[in-house]
C-alpha cells in the first residue's frame, strides 16, 4: 500500500461540513474548486422502518485501502487536497456516514476525482453495514450497480 499524506479518518464521531471545508481550503488562493460529497444513512423504502445502521471495518486496512484509492485519483487528475472521513459504529437514519472532499484548481478534475474516490471506496474499502429494521438485524448485501460504477473508470 502507498503511504499518503492526504487526511483519511475512520471515526465514530460526526463531522462538520463547514469545519472540513475550511480546513481543506486553508486559505489557499490557488484553489478554484472544492467538491464535497456527503453520504447519509437513508431510510428503507418502507419509510420509518430502519432503526439503526451499524458499521464494522478492518482497522488499518480500511485506511490503507482508501489511501491507495486517493493516490490513484491523484495520479489521474490534477487535484491539490483530499479529505475522506468514514464513520463507524451505530448510526441512525439521517446521520452523515461518509465525506469525500476534493479541492483543486478546476471543477472538472475535482468532480471526477471525488466520484472516483467514492466509487472505489464503496467497492474496495473493507467496511460492512448491518441494518436493523423491524427488530431484525441483517448484513447489507453488496450491489452490482456499485461494482459497475467503479468498473466504468477502468475503460
Amino acid at each position: 500500500m502507498v503511504p499518503c499524506d492526504d487526511e483519511i479518518l475512520i471515526t465514530k464521531a460526526d463531522f462538520s461540513i463547514e469545519d472540513e471545508y475550511r480546513r481543506l481550503l486553508d486559505d489557499d488562493h490557488s484553489l478554484g474548486a472544492c467538491v464535497l460529497f456527503t453520504g447519509l444513512v437513508r431510510d428503507l423504502p418502507e419509510a420509518g422502518s430502519l432503526q439503526s445502521l451499524e458499521l464494522e471495518h478492518y482497522p488499518g486496512m480500511t485506511e490503507a485501502s482508501i489511501a491507495e484509492i486517493v493516490a490513484k485519483a491523484r495520479a489521474r487528475w490534477n487535484i491539490a487536497r483530499v479529505r475522506v472521513i468514514h464513520r463507524i459504529g451505530k448510526l441512525a437514519p439521517g446521520d452523515q456516514i461518509v465525506l469525500v472532499a476534493v479541492a483543486g484548481a478546476h471543477r472538472g478534475e475535482a468532480f471526477a476525482a471525488c466520484e472516483y474516490v467514492m466509487d472505489y471506496l464503496k467497492t474496495r474499502a473493507p467496511l460492512w453495514k448491518k441494518e436493523t429494521a423491524d427488530g431484525r438485524a441483517r448484513w447489507v448485501d453488496s450491489r452490482e450497480s456499485d461494482e459497475m460504477a467503479a468498473a466504468r473508470w477502468e475503460t
Binding site: 500500500m1 478492518y58 490503507a64 485501502s65 464503496k122 474499502a125 473493507p126 467496511l127 460492512w128
Partner: protein, 85 residues
Amino acid sequence: MALRVLFFAGIREKLGTARCELPFSDETGDVLGLVGRLAREIDPLCEDLLLAENTICAVNREVVSREHSLRDEDEVAFFPPVTGG
C-alpha cells in the same frame, strides 16, 4: 512463530470469533492450505464459509488469491464483499 487470522462481519458472526492464532508450519502452504487447517482445528464451518466464491481473503492487508503462499507472522483476513460508503 504464528499466523494471525481475522474474521469480519457475517463471517465473524457465523464463526463466533473475530480472530485466532495458528502456529506457523511450512506445510500450511497457501490460503487453501490454511482454510483446511482452520476447518480441522477451529471449526468445520470454515471450509464452506472461507472458500465461498464471494469471500475475500487479504494477507497483510492486501487482497490475494487462494493460491497465495503464506509466511510466518502473516496476518490473514477473511471477509464478505464490502458495503461501506
